[in-house]
Amino acid sequence: MEQQRERSVVLEDYGEYETAWCPGCGNFGILKALKQALVACRLPPQAVLFVSGIGQAAKAPHYLNANLFNGLHGRALPVATGAKLANSRLTVIVESGDGCTYGEGGNHFLSAIRRNINVTLLVHNNQVYGLTKGQASPTSTEGFVTKAQPDGVHAQAFNPVAVAVAMKAGFVARSFSGMTDHLVATIQAGIAHPGFALVDILQPCISFNTVNTFKWYKERCRDVAPDHDPSDWNAAFKLAFQWEEGIPIGVIYKNDRAPFESHFPACAQGPLAGRAVDKEALQRIVMSYA
């Protein structure tokens, strides 16, 4: 394994596969950028574990070479947390959509932020449900009309970036599937961050979201100002609420809280797999019940 880390990593290591996505889907841009980011991080596929949920986004890791646990809708983060605790040397990346992460998995999203587990969360945020054909998602704009919400969505849109900043998540960034270089750099920074990293990735859904189109995002997405200090929580919080008037993309906020797994003595000794049982210690424990 160590040798493999030394060998240079190339795009071909991550392969090229046929997908089940609609032609023109924003997922293609994300998949492409993701592979480039992994290569830029010099991570061989063997060192990476993807965990995904259910949705069109959650299929993404099937279309590259890497370790993968494709679990249930909403439940990717706890699986990733368990895997990272079991082997803190793995680079663990969660990839799923806005419905899976912010809807079904909402409690896990909040808890992963609180723990600051060293996992990178890539959310394909197209503000609509694609797999189930076009219902509103937690991030759909108020008033967004779908077959399931014919009078428009009556609930306020969930703002994942604002929530993550408010909770002082380790690393909070936003990017856009249509700006590959920006996305590559942002994912790379998220993976490199030693703690929980959210990369909320805006993407068009060409089949079910006719409002937030490629053009709509392209017109609004702009890099955060070069003088923005991501460690400035107040400034980050302000940025997190900018939307219609211009969507800031880039690293919004970060801090240097210790990653969750660093608090467990057992994790410091390497993977939990294949560890012997200290029977002498256990014998002493048993006899302490005398």
Binding site: H62, N67, L68, A86, L272
Partner: protein, 568 residues
């Protein structure tokens, strides 16, 4: 005043009072002191779901022979409040004794009125009661002091001084009383050191011995003491234990840890398990080993949080959408808690899926003195880093249904698991022929699980007039009831199932067929195990002794029900 506690058999000591009066401390210390003096004990707790107030009891059955179940009659009642006397006076044996405060309003029963306020500081009154109980039972004072030193450790020096003074005063006070007590007969010296431990602690130690390295949980009575015990030893044993945000997260964390190579578990009660159900199916589909401890309490919904029941058998048997193999182990004693916890990890590892340990509040909280566990069984073997068959396929179709497992990140091969139907390489597929093959592959693992089933344990007369069938924690009370029936001249057998799924009819059908009458004894209202036996064998157990009032079976309860007729 003369009060003798004259008993050939074990004595039943009950300590009763409100939550917050320290009665569990008295109970644990007294039980441990009795064990160290060479007595056998069985200690059970009955408590209300509150931190202060209410009525709680800690019961100890103690004597020269091991006891398997609590008894209803009380020989020594340590009443920390008047309500205890009111609630339990009728359970006193004819020669029973009450220990109460001198101000207690009590008449008509033999009572030892103790001036607790003179014997102890306010914060140490429970230790004075401990001292009185120890003295009445004939324990050496040094024995009690040693138990206190171990229990309170070196941390609470001032409290320790007060506590020791309270116990010393109690012994002095007893010596000055013009009473003689027939003390517990001095037991033979124990053949080897014994430990005193409860069911949940035994499960935790069994898991550690098997190599458990990860546990995630959400607190829920009566399961919580399993992870709490693990947390106590986590650092020493190289384990990670995490309190999750909910039960859904708990089981998914355990599945994630297991996928990444850590032998993993979770523990909950019926209500929490209801939240985990979706991921039981996930473990079945992704073929991820996981041990799930379900400690039953009275249900539906929130039920009676601190009482006992056996009503989640059918739930655990059917939990999870779809068809996949599982095993359900049902320990009947503290020893089986340890042993079957180890077995659960082995089965989960070998057959790559969910394995259940189905216990209940009674067993979880029951302390027994036992010979220290045998730690010889080796932990589950580490997985290889390479697979002989390349290219590596996580779900390779094999004869046994078991495919080679590798650990992601610890192998040059890539490991892919999917909750969608998947091809041999783990990737999502909608190939319907592959679907058929994968269903069959997963179910083929059942043959291996069946070959390792723990057979039911039979005790008693062959071809009996009466056969009592039980599973899980009812074993002890059923065994004692059967012994009482045999002593009364009825040819009686007892058949205990330490594993309720899968069932192998050839293991037990002859017992059922050769008995004149068969009675299932279950802690639920519908005879769930009797129904399962009928489904699997066609054998209809006509008679049921059921209990669903939240209390554990006692031999007396079973005998009463048998004499009054049983329902079918």
């Amino acid at each position: 005043m003369t009060n003798d506690i004259r008993h050939a058999g074990p004595l039943q000591v009950v300590i009763g009072g409100e939550a917050g009066q320290g009665l569990v401390t008295i109970g644990e210390l007294l039980a441990r002191s009795l064990v160290r003096a060479g007595h056998h004990v069985l200690a059970t707790q009955s408590y209300m779901s509150r931190i202060r107030g209410g009525h709680n009891t800690f019961s100890i059955r103690a004597g020269g022979a091991p006891a398997a179940a609590p008894r209803e009659a009380i020989d020594l009642l340590v009443a920390l409040n008047d309500e205890t006397i009111r609630l339990h006076r009728r359970e006193l044996t004819p020669l029973g004794l009450v220990v109460a405060d001198e101000k207690a309003a009590i008449e008509g029963v033999p009572v030892l009125k103790v001036p607790f306020e003179r014997l102890a500081a306010k914060t140490s009154v429970n230790m004075a009661a401990f001292g009185i109980a120890g003295a009445v039972l004939g324990l050496e004072r040094t024995n009690l002091e040693r138990a206190m030193a171990d229990f309170f450790g070196g941390k609470q020096v001032e409290a320790m001084v007060e506590n020791c003074r309270a116990v010393a005063n109690a012994y002095t006070w007893i010596d000055a009383q013009p009473v003689t007590f027939k003390k517990l007969a001095a037991p033979p010296p124990p053949p080897q050191a014994r430990i005193m431990i409860n069911g949940n602690e035994a499960i935790a130690l069994g898991a550690l011995n098997a190599g458990a390295k990860f546990c995630a949980f959400y607190p829920m009575t009566p399961a919580t003491t399993v992870p709490l015990t693990l947390i106590e030893y986590a650092e020493r044993m190289g384990m990670v234990v995490e309190q999750a945000e909910d039960e859904i997260a708990a089981i998914n964390m355990a599945i994630g840890a297991s996928f990444a190579g850590a032998p993993a578990m979770t523990a909950t009660a019926g209500g929490g398990f209801a939240l985990m159900v979706e991921s039981v199916s996930l473990a079945g589909m992704t073929e991820t080993p996981i041990v799930i401890v379900v400690a039953q309490r009275p249900v539906p919904a929130t039920g009676l949080p601190t009482r006992t029941e056996q009503a989640d058998l059918e739930f655990v048997l059917h939990a999870g959408h779809g068809e996949f193999p599982r095993a359900i182990l049902t320990p009947g004693s503290v020893e089986e808690c340890f042993e079957l916890a180890g077995k659960a990890f082995g089965l989960a590892d070998r057959y790559q899926g969910p394995v259940f340990l189905l216990t209940d509040q009674f067993l979880a909280d029951t302390y027994r003195d036992i010979i220290p566990f045998n730690l010889e069984p080796p932990p589950i073997a580490p997985l290889p880093s390479e697979c002989p068959m390349l290219p590596y396929k996580r779900y390779a179709l094999t004869e046994t249904g078991v495919s080679p497992r590798l650990i992601p990140g610890l192998s040059p091969q890539l490991v892919v698991a999917d909750s969608d139907e998947h091809a041999e390489d783990g990737h999502i597929t909608e190939d319907l022929e592959v679907r058929r093959l994968m269903v069959e592959k997963r179910l083929r693992k059942m043959a291996g699980i069946k070959a390792e089933v723990s057979p039911p344990v039979f005790q008693g007369d062959n071809n009996p007039d009466l056969l009592l069938v039980s599973w899980g924690s009812s074993q002890g009370a059923v065994g004692e009831a059967a012994a009482a029936l045999r002593a009364g001249g009825t040819r009686t057998g007892a058949l205990h199932f330490p594993q309720v799924w899968p069932l192998i009819p050839s293991h037990f059908i002859d017992y059922l067929n050769s008995a004149r009458a068969v009675v299932a004894v279950e802690g639920n209202a519908m005879g769930q195990f009797a129904r399962l036996i009928r489904r699997e064998t066609g054998f209809h157990i006509q008679n049921l002794v059921l209990r669903y009032d939240g209390l554990p079976f006692t031999p007396e309860y079973i005998l009463r029900r048998l004499s009054h007729g049983t329902t079918a």
